[in-house]
Amino acid sequence: MSFLGRVVEWFTTASHWQGDAGALHRLSEHVTMSAGAVVVAAAVALPLGVWLGHTGRGGSLAINLSNVGRAVPSFAILVIAAQLFGIGWQPAFAALVALGIPPMVTNAYVGLRDVDDDIRESARGMGMTGFQSLWRVELPVALPPLMAGVRTAAVQVVATATLAALVAWGGLGRFIVDGIAQRDFVQVFAGAVLVGALSILTELALAGLQRLIVPQGLRTRETSKNEPFRALVAGEMATEMRVNP
């Protein structure tokens, strides 16, 4: 039987889906871990980035954070977290939260900074307080870049959760890591397909969410053109490109 035939067979074998080592359980581990990490990271990163952007303080910190984050390999973060927190879900969770924070801080900061001063002044002129202006005017306007940061972070977290199999945690990475160890490339391939599909679904789901929560009036041509996958680097590019006039 051809290799791909054996992969199809893997997917159609019920026992590969059931039980604690089955694909469904691994999938739910992967999703729970990733979602938890993104939520915790967002709870830290978004208020920080929004506050920095609103007040205009700590700009270089906010922008350099994601540059530094990119320079530190996620594999290294995970392995070092395992040395700090021992084995199990804790090191994986800690590493994923740490990875999720930088892109969200940077994009929230850039989004808030990029709000037109005229818009801020109009909000002031209408008698809004600083907080009202932030909550009712600046945040909605900054939502597209902010969400781009959330998407970048979420996809990165889902990707790195795959590596967590190396520090003795579950998730879909188990199929890949165990498969490589056992030279069972059918299992490796099946695991890779599952992980790839989950990442793409994550990106699409968050793109859909963004479409739902960005107010209609703010869906400029640019935002609606922001097809899935394209926004992935849009946030990063926004920060990189400020260097150039």
């Binding site: 530190v72 290294a76 990106e203």
Partner: protein, 220 residues
């Protein structure tokens, strides 16, 4: 499975570092090679892709979507999908690494070329520049800052991803990290991680210098 933090194990044992200077150097060199090849091939592929997307606008969306999907698939998964065909080899790592540079590079080349002001292009045409000469002499130089910004992101990203290729038998400094993980010995792990960060920071700084030298007009 593999890990259990030994409380007594110090983060860095300098005597190990001193004895394994050659190994660290070899790993660093492999890391640099894997990165250079990936970014080099990435650039060679990205330029034609970006030019195609510019020439025929309808191609832009499929090109960016496909490179976007490649960028979205986790590195380990992408390597794993290639293993049945190209084995646990350098080819497998390079295909994966190149795939990750494409979205960043194509996008930045496109954005850079789009940023050339229309009146500049008109002047070039007015001076009798054909499309090829206009691209090489006028548009590419003006787009260079944005393109090089993309090269910097792609390079730093690749340096990080190379560590993951340790799992398919390559990896450069990732080998040291994996080695530390498997033997539960912190020193190689810390050395591999620190050297990888140093490499990324150094590469970024070096490319920033290149950017300054190549675009003297953009200095303020």
């Amino acid at each position: 499975m593999l890990v259990g933090a030994a409380a007594s194990d110090p983060w860095v044992r300098w005597d190990w570092v001193a004895r394994h200077g050659d190994d660290i150097w070899a790993a660093t060199r492999q890391h640099v090679e894997l990165t250079l090849i990936a970014v080099g091939i990435g650039l060679l592929l990205s330029f034609p892709l970006a030019l195609l997307a510019r020439r025929w606008r309808w191609l832009q969306s499929p090109i960016l979507s496909v490179t976007g999907i490649l960028y979205t698939i986790p590195s380990l998964a992408l390597f794993a999908m290639l293993v049945p065909w190209t084995g646990l080899s350098r080819t497998t790592s390079e295909i994966g690494l190149v795939s990750y540079t494409l979205l960043i590079l194509v996008r930045n080349i496109l954005v850079g070329l789009d940023g050339v002001p229309p009146d500049v292009k008109e002047s070039a045409q007015g001076m009798g520049f054909g499309p090829g000469r206009q691209l090489l002499r006028i548009e590419l130089p003006l787009a260079l800052p944005v393109i090089l910004a993309g090269v910097r992101i792609a390079t730093v990203t690749t340096i990080g991803l190379v560590t993951v290729t340790a799992l398919i038998g390559q990896g450069g400094l990732g080998q040291l990290i994996l080695d530390g993980l498997i033997r539960d010995f912190r020193t190689p792990l810390v050395v591999g991680a620190v050297m990888s960060v140093v490499l990324a920071v150094f590469a970024d700084a070096a490319l920033a210098v290149v950017q300054r030298l190549l675009t003297p007009w953009s200095r303020r």
